[in-house]
Symmetry: C2
């Protein structure tokens, strides 16, 4: 009985991992339930034992993806707050360069493709962005306290702006297949906004 | 013969108009050739008399969409350059509010959904972004000449950054179904970047 529960949990895990990958590579509409079950090694029929719908799986996939964004490093106060912020975007940049400027960010991808059509996915994207902006804002507030960033604007305003600028940079890099948009992002964000 | 040519041209026009709308509302994968022919009032079979593929139509749809972005107003030197820049983004913002924060920008939408999978669409998105960034950069350069914007950064750097920040703001507004991301955009872009 216990072995069965473990096997079932592991099948579910495999489906989530496969969904993150398949949605990220192909997009939501283009990645079918069969693509996801095939990639996870599960039988297609087993999908609905674990998830009510592709939409329900997308919500869980977004949570899983968010957990891999290393937001905890933004709160690691053994590192100077501006350094943490820079390292956070360097991590995201390097990840995108590793995938040759493809894929973008799954949060932005599902926002663009699915948010208009699924209230559940829209709400999940919104929460992912809020969590991300909160983590950025808390590091920005610390940088303001440390006197490294002007207090002229609220940390949440700056955080939401920087997050949007990052999502847009991913779009430009994807179209351009080059790191130019990232260079522009670092130049303006760390040279003119967070200072 | 002439009437036939006119009818044919008008059918093609209807297909392009329908494609802009259908891709924008449903996304590229989710909008089928049949959706587009139905929306245009054409018979499905007639599609391939006009376009080789949905991909080829997407390239033309992007050009058509770009032509509606009113980039010419960014070069209208009867208006102060910073005012032109602000009015440009106000126009785009109001358009997005009118569609209840849905749809985003077709350039960004196709970048996210299709650029990884179609070289033709990727190149068309890239060109659209270049044309747009050039128009922004020319107004920013004028604003720098007028002494309204610091010359610390190149106009093209600022233009590309602002364009990315806008594309990202559309993503956040879409997830949030609110104009908050636009307010953040105007606050930071016109309060801190273009000054």
């Amino acid at each position: 009985m216990e072995a069965l529960t473990v096997a079932r949990a592991s099948l579910r895990e495999n489906l989530i991992t496969a969904a993150v990958e398949q949605f990220h590579i192909h997009g939501y509409a283009a990645a079918s339930v069969k693509d996801i079950t095939d990639a996870s090694g599960a039988a297609k029929g087993s999908f609905y034992n674990h998830f009510e719908s592709k939409e329900a799986l997308a919500v869980v996939a977004l949570e899983r993806y968010g957990a891999g964004r290393r937001l905890e490093t933004l709160r690691d106060n053994s590192v100077a707050p501006l350094t943490r912020l820079r390292q956070h975007f360097e991590f995201l940049r390097d990840e995108n360069i590793d995938t040759e400027f493809n894929r973008g960010c799954l949060v932005g991808d599902l926002a663009v493709e699915v948010a208009d059509h699924s209230e559940a996915v829209r709400e999940s994207v919104r929460q992912s962005q809020e969590t991300w902006a909160d983590a950025l804002a808390s590091a920005i507030a610390e940088a303001q306290q440390a006197g490294d960033v002007s207090k002229a604007l609220e940390p949440t305003t700056l955080a939401r702006f920087v997050l949007s600028a990052w999502e847009g940079a991913l779009i430009a890099a994807r179209a351009d297949r080059s790191p130019r948009a990232f260079e522009v992002f670092f130049t303006v964000v760390f040279g003119q906004i967070l200072r």
